[in-house]
């Protein structure tokens, strides 16, 4: 069911062609990171810390190096000791010193699983034996896992040089609080003074992993002349090149990164873990080195998203008008600063038109793996709390929950809680579609409840490059620098086909390596179909201009007298002459005679990405004996701007909703008292599978973003923002109690019901 606003007459955009990567993926031919092999390659493995916090006293690699088949061992001593330097290369601010030390511990280990050495050997068995033979002497230090405990004055200190940023006056003593963010609008005290009803609550969420099905994997091959190639799956091969160059002190031009198919990322593959180690081992041995993480390593040593604590307070008039909104957020950053608390703070109240807002957030380090981005980083955590409070407010006011959100909903001209004034946005249209959906008025049975929650994500643009090549036979290749995680190849081909006026089946898209296309930022931030799509459209438009010029040359008339229509050059009017239309293939055939190959490459830094909003409706049934929650029905409504390939957009929405449901009901990192992760595998870290869930029904609302030629808004992140709130509100309706802590697992619900 589509709730379409402003539909235009498009031939390819909005259709559902077969995906260009589909056959290879369903037949198992697609090459992912772990599928690659090179002649003479070695196997790389990593020795990891058994302690959550310890000083490295010494590392003795001599016995390992003496083993047969072991070709090299590297430790921090083999990498440049990089100075603290902030940069924005991947999906957020990155400190290169922290990144280097996260890839290979120097002086201290900061979490269980932190890399302390890496080996390259001729086989798995030889590499495994080498790991066992490396002797590391540790001085074990007290550890801290919980972020709020890490904020205490007497908490074990992770970094002696970490002074809280964003404080005035600047702190004179180090702490585990990496950063404080604080922003606001209006007068928060006056806002609460004007309130007739106030709700508040303290909510907690747990660290959860992106749980991409493909573990991190790469092969690095260094040549004797200093040139290197890295094959791997990531969310940005230019990001891999930039980080590896920085961490190893190499020129970017000497590193070529070839993107392979990627089995999910969701933000977690916007940083490097293996690539610098594999390349350094290859440089030492002169042979290609392949590294593939185990699932256990993925859990212990790569970034989940933060667990967080959110205290929220909302004041309103009796008619539902919100007068004040306040939140305090504490987020786990893991071993190094850099949680998404800033984005969470900005998103917390972004769906609402509130004059008085005050949000404070803290980015706190503790002895956990450094967090990484995860779809709409931080926003779902804030939304779980805010949407729970909104549900409480609707109950107090005896208002319909969607009506309360409509009354306060952001629209064009609303001053967003994080500062800017919104341009054209589709939040109210999303709410209207949710309210009108049959799901919202369907009857419920005993022990069942319905919850509604909404969510926001900024969406971004950024740097992208794309090329369009017309082949001699009139077929077309589209080349971009964006790894295809969510169907971007199909979208690029479709947008190019729409501009060129040709069937999408004649346009083949590929993702090029770092030496074959201009710089392109990571696939993240819901930016690719918007920004890389814009570059593709512009490249296709340039090709159309060339085609018109070539046709003019063939007809011996002015290029101004040629139009491009439905894949053919046609005379612009009666005065241009009576020529038969020239199809693209006919012009391509004469390319050599009219000026040579017909190609165009465009590189842009796209601005003005349109914000996205979603509203989810969730029905649950809670078993009062076991506390088990069954998701009965789930509808996800979202403003997608314009769906280029609706099936992919629907898939993004369904996937985001499912991940959010897992976050709500099951997923969590469980640590024992010694700081050891207890559930580093999918048996004990329970993600929802198809048999756990009903069909997630996506509803596409199309409020086009005027900055994109086809109206695209990013769609990949919004759908993970509302689910925790929607599930939480449904459980509240089913059991009559608010569950403030995630996951809302059977033991927790049973405990709540037994009170």
């Amino acid at each position: 069911m589509n709730f379409v606003v402003n539909k235009s007459d498009l031939k390819v955009v909005g259709s559902r062609p077969v995906r260009p990567d589909g056959v290879d993926k369903v037949t198992g031919r697609a090459q992912f990171g772990a599928d690659m092999a090179l002649p003479g390659m070695l196997i790389g493995r990593i020795k990891r810390s058994p302690h959550p916090h310890a000083r490295i006293v010494s590392i003795d690699t001599s016995k390992a190096l003496a083993l047969p088949g072991v070709k090299a061992v590297v430790t921090a001593a083999d990498f440049p000791d990089i100075a603290s330097e902030e940069a924005f290369v991947g999906e957020g601010p990155m400190n290169f010193r922290d990144l280097s030390r996260n890839c290979m511990a120097r002086d201290k280990v900061l979490y269980e699983g932190h890399a302390v050495a890496a080996v390259a050997a001729i086989s798995d068995a030889a590499a495994e034996a080498a790991l066992d033979a490396i002797a590391v002497e540790y001085e074990v230090l007290p550890h801290v896992i919980d972020a709020e405990a890490a904020m205490a004055a007497d908490a074990p200190l992770l970094h002696a040089d970490l002074f809280t940023a964003g404080m005035e006056p600047k702190p004179t003593a180090p702490s585990n609080v990496a950063k404080r963010v604080h922003f606001g609008l209006g007068d928060i005290a006056a806002g609460f003074a004007a309130a007739e009803v106030v709700v508040e609550g303290r909510y907690t969420t747990q660290a959860v992993h992106q749980a991409y099905i493909e573990p991190h994997a790469c092969i690095a091959s260094a040549n004797a002349d200093g040139q290197s190639v890295i094959y791997g799956s990531s969310q940005g091969h230019f990001m891999v090149r930039a980080y590896v160059a920085k961490l190893l002190g190499m020129d970017m031009s000497n590193i070529r990164v070839v993107p392979l198919e990627i089995g999910g990322g969701f933000g977690g593959k916007t940083v490097v873990y293996l690539e610098p180690l594999a390349l350094q081992l290859s440089r030492k041995t002169g042979r290609p080195v392949k590294m593939v993480m185990t699932r256990e390593e993925v859990f212990r040593a790569t970034g989940p998203t933060s667990g967080g604590t959110v205290e929220v307070k909302i004041g309103a008039k009796k008619d539902g008008t919100i007068t004040a909104a306040q939140a305090r957020l504490v987020f786990q950053a893991g071993a190094y600063g850099g949680s998404p608390v800033g984005a969470a703070a900005m998103c917390a109240f972004a769906c609402y038109d509130v004059a008085n807002v005050d949000v404070e957030g803290f980015d706190v380090v503790s002895n956990r793996p450094k967090v990484a981005a995860y779809r709409a980083p931080g926003a779902p955590i804030a939304a779980f709390a805010v949407e729970g409070a909104m549900d409480d407010l609707a109950r107090k006011l005896d208002m319909d929950p969607i009506a309360l959100r409509e009354k306060n909903g952001a629209k064009a001209g609303t001053k967003a809680a994080y500062g800017p004034t919104f341009p054209d946005i589709g939040f109210l249209q999303v709410l209207a579609a949710a309210k009108a959906h049959p799901h919202y008025s369907a009857p419920l049975g005993p022990n069942q409840g319905r919850g509604v929650a909404v969510g926001f994500w900024f969406n971004i643009g950024g740097e992208s490059s794309a090329s369009v090549f017309v082949n001699e036979d009139g077929t077309v290749n589209v080349v971009s620098g964006s790894p295809d995680i969510g169907g971007s190849r199909a979208s690029m081909a479709m947008m190019a086909a729409e501009v060129l006026g040709v069937p999408v089946e004649s346009v083949r898209p590929i993702v090029a390596d770092t030496a074959a296309i201009g710089f392109t930022g990571v696939t993240g931030g819901s930016r690719v179909t918007y920004a890389t799509g814009m570059a593709t459209v512009q490249a296709a438009e340039k090709v159309v201009e060339q085609l018109k010029q070539r046709a003019a040359l063939i007809w011996d008339i002015s290029p101004d007298a040629v139009d491009w229509k439905d894949g053919e050059a046609v005379p612009a009017g009666a005065n241009a002459g009576g020529f038969d239309p020239l199809p693209l293939a006919a012009i391509a055939l004469k390319a050599a005679k009219t000026g040579g190959p017909i190609t165009a490459e465009v590189s842009i830094n796209a601005q003005g990405a349109g914000p996205g909003f979603g509203a989810h409706i969730c029905d649950v049934e809670v078993d009062p004996e076991t506390g088990y929650t069954t998701i009965l029905r789930y509808t996800a409504v979202q403003d997608v701007g314009r769906a280029i390939h609706p099936s992919y957009v629907e898939g993004q929405i369904q996937g985001g909703a499912v991940q959010g449901i897992g976050w709500a009901l099951n997923e969590e990192y469980v640590y024992d008292g010694k700081g050891m992760l207890q559930n580093p595998g999918f048996l004990d870290y329970r993600v929802p599978v198809a048999s756990d869930l009903p069909m997630i029904e996506p509803v596409l609302v199309e409020v086009p973003n005027k900055r994109h030629p086809f109206g695209v808004r990013g769609v990949g992140e919004v759908p993970i923002v509302p689910p925790m709130g929607a599930v939480g509100n449904a459980i509240r309706a089913a059991i009559g109690q608010r569950m403030h802590d995630l996951p809302m697992s059977p033991p927790r619900i049973r405990a709540a019901l037994s009170k």
């Binding site: 005035e168 779809r375 800017p420 740097e463 992140e717």
Partner: protein, 82 residues
């Protein structure tokens, strides 16, 4: 003149707590220069680690972006994603 809004406390540390300032700049690049001149460190902070919302649209790293008379420029952290 364009108005620059600073909803975040971190940016206001440079302006002595001022949450709104007027600038004579006609482009994002000129804005950075003026901010740096009037509030040393702020222009650099915006250039290195922040984005701006110009009349509601988020811009990151866009020197040439024009500012019009009456433009609303909001300094916000750079946005990433997942």
């Amino acid at each position: 003149m364009p108005r620059v809004l600073l909803p975040g406390q971190a940016s206001r540390l440079f302006t002595g707590g001022q949450a709104e300032i007027e600038v004579a700049a006609t482009s994002f690049r000129a804005l950075l220069r003026e901010l740096e001149t009037r509030y040393p460190g702020l222009g650099r902070q915006v250039e290195d680690g922040m984005a701006v919302a110009i009349d509601g649209e988020i811009h990151q790293d866009a020197y040439a972006t024009p500012l019009r008379e009456g433009s609303e420029i909001v300094l916000i952290p750079k946005i990433g994603g997942g």
